[in-house]
């Protein structure tokens, strides 16, 4: 193999470490030198993205196994290791993270003016944590990164946020923390169960996968994981932190929150909750799919009547993530591939939507829809970008949103026909709330004097919007490069899911009800 | 030869004096001194039981406690002086900002 073998061996570790190195480097820069601080941060995140392209280059799409694996003992006496790797499920989420970082940093050039140094340091720490979440294949390591994400985000909202930032930050923190504490308990239970069965302690996910967990245990562990991830996704009815957090967070925070943080929940379902506890996951499916469909409609309807643009986008996220959940719990290839793709799509589209909102917020310092109107005339370039993003969010064929939603519904239609039929009406409502918002902001006559003086997007803004627009069309027109790299992993996931489920159910009578399966003492 | 229970009794008495001092007195200086007395009470027990069992660990622990006590006294007195400079009192009933 040509290239730099050493780099290849430690590629994922480099990706985890590089932002931290950047954060450390910032500490040596004078705090008044805003321009230097921003540029250095941008260069670090850009380097991070370019390096992550190497992951795609090295990625073998034919295998379902973890790739670019690094495994070193971390706390050996407890069987805890530093194990990282990527497969088709995490590859694009990793790429999404590294892709969105330089973009948000660019957007923060103008939107963040106070405490620039601290802001950038938090952003870089956040980058490390997010990358870590997606590449960790050791439960303990995963949990560390999972919690590590909370802290910088808490400060990003709490320090650089809007008027009700403290409320939003605390709500965000506590909501997600409650879930993750339950997850920690479940992780420990799993850890001790592994010891009880095999006589060794480990938190290595791949080893845990091969464990057959008794069904009664699956129920409780899945329930704990479910809460942790459902809070994060967020699924209806655990979603109310999201509108507050999104609305109050600074633009860059909203973008990362939407693009990456929410995906941690859906990714967690796929990687942990579903993969480890297939029986419980199957039994929970009706509940989860129902909640997902309610979320789709509920998010869309409530988004429709919002007065604040960011809040509207936040509720639309609830609907979009409902689609992702629907896809994952279709439990077939199309649904899950669609779900993963839709995670990426939502990151691109909703991330871009927050950037768009940020652009006008910076100019007018308001997010109220009624303050705008007629902007198309004043801001033609902005209007174009906004329109493309709107269409992508609506899921118009030819844009990324359609491919994801289509595959999700195609897959889910097979397993949950009626749920999917109801969910599909969400596509109608998506058009209602997005177009209505677009109309009120962009169309009509300019009614406010100050809107006439708005300046169109500048070069920097175009520069960070352009990659997103390209991705919208790329995924929309030719999603093959993305889908093909998922195939093997998702197919293996579906197969293993079924096999593990059968293994865990061996010996239990057919047609056993959930009540008996989980709560009957068996005597 | 004095029997071990006697040492332990001495230890308990010293400890008791210290406790009473800590709980009952209002002067921080006295309280700090009482803490020292308590620590020394414990030291007596360590040394006595150590020698009774023929194990050096008790003695080592006593030295350990003495070291910590010295450090604690140094830090405590420094704080005390700083506190006195600010509040011009070392009466604990008047120093109750550490609440709610």
């Amino acid at each position: 193999m040509t290239g730099v073998p050493l780099l290849d061996q430690h590629l994922l570790s480099v990706l985890i470490g590089l932002p931290l190195v950047g954060a450390a480097a910032l500490l040596f820069l004078p705090r008044e030198g805003h321009r230097t601080i921003r540029n250095v941060t941008f260069l670090f995140t850009l380097a991070e993205f370019l390096l992550s392209l190497l992951v795609v280059a090295r990625f073998e799409s034919g295998t379902a196994a973890m790739q670019l694996v690094e495994s070193v003992p971390w706390i050996p006496r407890y069987g805890i290791g530093y194990i990282v790797g990527v497969d088709g499920i995490s590859l694009w989420l990793l790429m999404l993270t590294t892709f969105i970082m330089p973009i948000t940093i660019l957007s923060a050039y103008s939107s963040v003016q106070k405490h620039v140094k601290e802001f950038m340091v938090f952003m870089l720490i956040l980058a490390t944590a997010m990358v870590g979440v997606f590449v960790a294949t050791d439960l303990f390591l995963f949990y560390v990164f999972w919690e590590m994400v909370l802290i910088p985000m808490y400060f990003l909202i709490g320090v650089w946020g809007g008027e009700r930032r403290i409320y939003a930050a605390i709500k965000f923190f506590l909501y997600t923390f409650v879930g993750s504490v339950l997850m920690l308990v479940a992780i420990l239970a799993l850890y001790f169960h592994h010891y009880a069965v095999t006589g060794t302690y480990t938190t290595d996910l791949v080893k845990l996968y091969s464990l057959t967990i008794p069904v009664k245990m699956q129920f409780w562990l899945f329930a704990a994981f479910f809460l942790a991830f459902a809070f994060k996704v967020p699924m209806f009815p655990f979603h109310t932190w999201l509108p507050d957090a999104h609305t109050e967070a600074p633009t860059a925070g909203s973008v990362i929150l939407a693009a990456v943080l929410l995906k941690m929940g859906t990714y967690g379902f796929l990687r942990f909750a579903m993969a480890l506890f297939p029986v419980a996951a199957s039994d929970f499916t009706p509940l989860i799919v129902t909640l997902a469909v309610i979320g789709i409609l509920y998010g869309a309807l409530v988004a429709m009547v919002q007065k604040d643009v960011k809040r509207l986008v936040a509720y639309s996220s609830v609907a979009h993530l409902g689609f992702v959940m629907l896809g994952l719990f279709a439990l077939n290839l199309q649904g899950i591939e669609g779900g993963i793709l839709q995670m990426i799509n939502h990151g691109v589209s909703t991330g871009a939507l927050f950037l768009v909102v940020g652009i006008i917020y910076e100019r007018r310092h308001t997010r109220l829809i009624s303050e705008f109107g007629g902007l198309s005339r004043v801001l033609p370039v902005f209007a174009f970008c906004f329109m493309v993003i709107t269409l992508s969010s609506i899921g118009l064929p030819g844009t990324n949103g359609f491919v994801g939603e289509f595959l999700i519904m195609l897959g889910a239609f097979r397993t949950h026909m009626w749920h999917t039929a109801v969910a599909a009406t969400g596509v109608i409502f998506a058009a209602v709330y997005m177009l209505w918002m677009f109309q009120r902001v962009m169309y009509g006559k300019v009614t406010q004097e100050e809107n006439l003086r708005l300046e169109d997007m500048n070069g920097r803004e175009v520069a960070y919007m352009l990659p997103l627009l390209l991705l919208v069309f790329w995924i929309g027109v030719y999603p093959q490069p993305f889908l093909r790299r998922m195939d093997a992993s998702v197919a293996a996931f579906v197969t293993r899911f079924e096999a593990q489920k059968q293994a865990a159910l061996r010996g239990s009578p057919a047609g056993e009800t959930m009540l008996v399966r989980y709560f009957d003492s068996g005597k | 030869m004095i029997e071990p229970p006697a040492y332990l009794l001495l230890s308990a008495i010293l400890f008791g004096i210290g406790v009473v001092g800590v709980v009952a007195r209002r002067n921080i200086l006295i309280i700090l001194m009482s803490v020292e007395v308590m620590l020394n009470g414990v030291n007596v027990a360590f040394v006595a039981v150590g020698s009774y069992l023929g194990d050096a660990t008790g003695g080592i622990f006593a030295f350990m406690v003495m070291t910590v006590a010295a450090a604690e006294a140094a830090v405590g007195l420094a704080l005390l002086i700083a506190l006195y400079r600010i509040r011009e009192t070392i009466d604990i009933t008047e120093l109750k900002v550490l609440k709610w």
Binding site: S376, P380, F413 | V23, L98
Partner: protein, 703 residues
């Protein structure tokens, strides 16, 4: 080599796409600074005192000719480039399409299906939807109509839109529409068809809302998109059912698998009904049928060439095309066929009656379009798919012409659309008048003109086909009479009689430039002669049109063995009799119109006064919009507000904040224990130690 031409089929949609890209670049680079300057933005800079400052004029009339002090004379060069590029792209695509069709026609009838796969689009497991095109007799008719009429309307638009500021933007949308429409028509599978399907919906949205500063225009655009989306929802579910039933979404695979799956019992009649009704829901949205027709009349807010192209000739016929394309599936389900026929007939008569009372020239034409689309569905519903497509083609000619003609009138009258303020325009606009009159004769079904042949074929089939019935025929014939009536009402009100024009407007009335009149003339020729390709055997013709389409629909008949749709004509004399009746009804309609609007011009108002309730009902379009607004829109919005404020903010967040408050108030009480008195802490420490030691002692003594 002739067959080699077909390999360039992909160029047909590619040319308009190229046009989109080039014009888009021009719009963003050349037009943007020009527009900003013209609009007086940013502030310093001479706005020529035209209404850019929000409140000066309430509405900006469509085709607002007076608004730009800088008319076409100061037009920058880029406009000429756009004016050449946009129609040129469509023209090129017409030429390629024509060559491809000719080369297809050179093949034997059974081999006239050409499929070109470009690349896989969405692939996941067993699912595959490629970007692939299919040219067969059906799609070639559509491709030629779309590119041909599309090209004429592009040329017309150059003249019609010459006063518009956002010239390039208009042509970007129009080219994008051509691209999407060609994707729809040429797609070789349902999913790619859906791309075009939603794509044309998008362009419709953008073009209706072209004058986005006007509230009614952007409302209409939004309404069109959303109502279409309701239909698309059905289409999409239909595609899911098709895939999970047939294991493929490509047309050739699906239709080829029908016999096998039917025999094996996988494809039951119920399944076929479900699939086809879902697809038909999509068609009712796109083709403006009951109950989703409400968007089309409002769509007249767009520029008139757009109404001609999208809302008359091409996009709205996509539903008919799709149903005809899926004829093999529809024939499996007699129930679905009946639904299609009944909805088609009902829409035909329902919207024809609304057309009687409308005063806006474009709205009359809009309701007429809805009505004519109903005819096409009636044809499909009785199994006469070829007749439906035939009417689709002739309708494209004469309705495009009617819209373009009305556009010419509106253009000449400085944006006036109210027929009550027209009259006697014939003198000023001779070319427009003659061409439009030809189209009116055609739509009324006067023998010899295109509309006659297609409409008569539909009426005949609706009577004689196994799926048809005399009732359907009766409704169709009645609607034909009403159509003749309101069309002549339109012509009389607009072109005849004394002038009721605003004197100020009348001063500027002028015949349109050649870019507009030439397309009108070409379409007039097509409206007259376009039907001659489908003269039925009973009139001595050989119905070449049906013969051309036969390979598509014959294989259909074979697939649905018991649904022998296009059966032999039972009786020539019966056919002649029905033909006579329908011509008679049409002439009666014309006669009544002549009587009311030429002879007794006071009569209409008198009639309206005599039956006020009925008149009011029809004039207000049966209050359907109001009912929808009240029963659907308000319910949904109110419900959503309730969900947000009561459920989200009050209930869920109430629980969340309630827990937080509970914890906080508990802490509030407990914190009182922290009195800050060091002695207290020391005492509790001691007490704790004593208790602990006591407990340990107790445990060690009591076993």
């Amino acid at each position: 080599m002739v067959s080699g031409v077909l390999d360039y089929l992909w160029l047909v949609p590619a040319f308009p796409l190229l046009g989109v890209i080039l014009n888009g670049v021009l719009a963003l680079i050349a037009e943007r600074p020009f527009l900003l300057k013209e609009a007086g933005l940013p502030p310093p800079g001479g706005s020529h005192g035209h209404p850019s400052r929000g409140n000066s004029h309430a509405t900006e009339a469509p085709g607002s000719h007076g608004s730009g002090a800088s008319g076409p004379h100061s037009a920058p060069v880029y406009r000429n480039v756009v004016a050449f590029l946009a129609p040129g792209a469509v023209g090129a695509s017409f030429v390629v399409a024509l060559l491809c069709v000719l080369s297809l026609a050179a093949r034997p009838p059974e081999g006239r299906t050409f499929v070109q796969i470009l690349f896989p689009w969405i692939q996941s497991g067993s699912f595959l939807a490629p970007v692939g095109f299919q040219l067969d007799p059906l799609s070639s008719v559509m491709a030629l109509v779309v590119t041909g009429v599309g090209f004429l309307i592009h040329v017309y638009s150059v003249g019609y839109m010459s006063h518009e500021r956002a010239f390039a933007r208009y042509f970007v949308y129009l080219n994008l529409f051509m691209f999407a429409m060609l994707m729809l028509v040429l797609a070789n599978n349902y999913l790619l068809m859906f791309v075009g399907w939603e794509g044309v919906g998008l362009c419709s949205y953008l073009l209706i809302g072209y004058w986005y500063e006007k509230q009614s225009a952007s409302d209409a655009g939004k309404k069109a998109f959303i109502v279409n989306r309701i239909g698309d929802f059905g289409f999409l579910l239909g595609v899911f059912l098709i895939f999970w039933t047939f294991g493929s979404v490509s047309f050739t695979d699906v239709f080829a698998r029908i016999p096998l799956l039917r025999d094996s019992g996988v494809l039951t009649a119920g399944m076929a009904t479900a699939i086809t009704l879902l697809l038909f829901l999509g068609a009712t949205g796109k083709s403006a049928q009951i109950p989703l027709y409400v968007w089309l009349p409002d769509a007249m807010e767009g520029p008139t060439p757009v109404s001609a192209l999208i809302h008359a000739a091409t996009m709205v016929t996509a539903g008919v095309y799709m149903v005809a394309r899926s004829s093999a599936l529809f024939l499996l389900s007699p129930d679905a066929m009946s639904v299609v026929a009944v909805i088609g007939a009902a829409t035909a008569i329902f919207s024809a009656t609304i057309g009687i009372c409308q005063t806006d020239i474009k709205r009359v034409l809009a309701y007429s379009t809805v009505s004519q689309l109903g005819y096409m569905f009636l044809a499909c519903g009785v199994g006469a798919f070829a007749a439906g497509i035939f009417h689709l083609m002739t309708h494209a000619f004469f309705k495009a012409l009617l819209f373009l003609g009305s556009g010419s009138v509106i253009h000449a009258l400085s944006g006036e659309q109210d027929m009550r303020k027209m009259g006697g325009v014939r003198r000023y606009l001779p070319v427009t008048f003659v061409t439009m009159f030809a189209a009116t004769l055609a739509i009324s079904g006067i023998p010899g003109l295109s509309g006659f042949f297609s409409k008569d074929e539909i009426l005949w089939q609706s009577f004689s086909s196994p799926h048809g019935s005399p009732a359907l025929w009766f409704v169709g014939a009645l609607a034909a009479g009403i159509t003749a009536f309101y069309m002549f009402r339109l012509v009389f009100l607009t072109f005849y009689g004394g002038s009721r024009m605003d004197p100020e407007v009348e001063k500027h009335v002028h015949e349109s430039p050649w870019t507009m009149t030439v397309p009108l003339s070409i379409l007039a020729v097509l409206s007259v002669a376009g039907g001659w390709v489908g003269i039925p055997a009973s009139l001595g013709g050989d119905n070449r049109f049906e013969e051309w389409l036969a390979p598509v629909f014959r294989s259909v008949a074979a697939a649905g063995a018991h649904g022998a749709a296009t059966g032999a004509h039972p009786s020539v004399s019966l056919e002649f009799g029905l033909m006579g009746i329908s011509v008679g009804v049409a002439l009666a309609g014309i006669g009544i119109a002549y009587f009311l609007y030429r002879l007794r011009t006071s009569k209409p108002a008198e009639i309206a006064r005599r039956v006020p309730a009925l008149y009011d009902l029809v004039y207000h379009k049966y209050y359907v919009d109001e009912i929808y607004e009240w029963a659907v829109v308000r319910r949904v919005v109110d419900g959503s507000v309730w969900l947000w404020q009561m459920f989200d903010a009050l209930f869920i967040d109430g629980i969340v904040n309630g827990i937080a408050d509970g914890v906080r108030s508990a802490g509030d009480r407990v914190r009182r224990l922290q009195a800050g008195i060091v002695g207290g802490y020391a005492f509790s420490l001691l007490a704790g130690a004593v208790l602990l030691v006591g407990y340990i002692l107790y445990r060690s003594m009591v076993p």
